[in-house]
């Protein structure tokens, strides 16, 4: 067996109807080419997609769950940031 395990990759798949690539899962591969082939075999065998992106997991930087309160709670009481907050005059069409 190899001494070094293959790195982890995150896989993003765009479905036939989809406009954007969505996170499908992760897998191990020695390099980008193998990661794309593995993704094809693991994540598109039931016609899930027509396009694949892969990125090595170590290149993904994530927000810290411990900071969730500071990050997201302040948005809770800002209803005026939603367009539905505003009453539109009846004369305004096509909105």
């Amino acid at each position: 067996m190899s001494e070094q395990p293959w790195p982890l990759w995150e896989v993003f798949i765009r479905s036939k109807q989809g406009l954007d690539h969505k996170h499908a899962g992760s897998l191990h591969a020695a390099d980008a080419q193998m990661a794309i082939e593995n993704a094809r075999d693991v994540y598109t065998r039931r016609m899930e997609g027509v396009s694949i992106w892969v990125v090595e997991s170590r290149h993904i930087h994530a927000s810290n769950p411990g900071e969730a309160a500071a990050f997201y709670d302040p948005a809770n009481d800002k209803v005026y940031r939603h367009p539905t907050f505003y009453d539109l005059p009846d004369e305004l069409k096509h909105m």
């Binding site: 293959w6 897998l27 191990h28 020695a30 080419q33 193998m34 082939e37 593995n38 094809r40 693991v42």
Partner: protein, 257 residues
């Protein structure tokens, strides 16, 4: 339908090739080196078994003697099987498995490419569908041959050993059985001699990248090739494979899920 024994035999040969290699590959299911490659090879196994089903179904129609795809796969004996010797060889290590796949996929690639132009519409249709699958098998197996051949000392050594073990079974791929020669003459089949240089070119290209060499008997003399599979004369490995593959139908005739 007018009876054409060459067409029936050729269908059986193509079906047997695909079924036996599909079965061999399926032996890796649950044993692959890592999950992702386990799935990759199992996918290839399923593609091949799918191809075999199409050819068996057509052969059963042509035979019109009550044969079914199942009876052709599960109830014939070793000497009835027309697969080439290459596909029945045991899996060995990963190097041997991917090299066997590469040799065979390169052969299927150029064969199906031409069979799509067969005067027989069914044969052409099956080949057209299978060709896309094989194009991926060829890409996948080429990658692995290069990766291991041009990899570490150990992977290179294992690839070389695999080449030594399998090369002698590649000549048969291009040696037409009587039914293949007849079918080619009638415009339904493919002239295998025209496929050979394309195959050789592909092997040379991938081997060059993989830093592997084609074995020779001695300076300027080609290796002696094993043959006979297409005529039902097999290596000792096929019997064991059939014993396992056919066990259920032999022990419980007509058994279904």
């Amino acid at each position: 339908m007018h009876p054409n024994p060459s067409l029936t035999d050729s269908c059986l040969h193509l079906a047997d090739d695909a079924l036996i290699l599909g079965h061999r590959n399926s032996e890796w299911t649950g044993h692959g080196p890592i999950l992702e490659q386990d799935i990759a090879l199992s996918n290839i196994a399923l593609d091949l078994i799918g191809q075999a089903r199409n050819f068996y179904q057509y052969a059963a129609t042509l035979k019109a003697d009550g044969s079914t795809e199942d009876s052709l796969a599960y109830l014939r004996d070793g000497w009835d099987f027309k697969n080439c010797l290459l596909v029945e060889q045991v899996n060995g290590d990963w190097a041997k498995t991917v090299l066997r796949q590469f040799f065979f996929s390169a052969h299927q690639y150029f064969l199906y490419e031409r069979l799509q132009e067969s005067k027989d519409e069914t044969l052409a249709a099956i080949s057209e569908k299978a060709f896309k699958e094989v194009a991926y098998h060829l890409r996948w197996s080429s990658e692995w041959v290069i990766r291991l051949g041009d990899g570490t000392d150990e992977s290179h050594r294992r690839m070389e050993k695999a080449v030594d073990e399998l090369w002698k079974f590649t000549g048969e791929l291009f040696l037409p059985a009587p039914y293949e020669a007849q079918l080619a003459k009638e415009g339904y089949g493919v002239d295998l001699l025209s496929v050979q240089p394309l195959w050789k070119e592909k092997v040379n290209e991938i081997f060059a990248e993989a830093t592997l060499t084609i074995p020779v008997e001695e300076e300027g003399k080609e290796t002696w090739m094993q043959t006979g599979g297409k005529a039902g004369r097999h290596t000792e490995h096929l019997g064991y494979l059939l014993a396992e593959m056919q066990f259920l139908q032999r022990a419980y005739p007509g058994g279904e899920w």
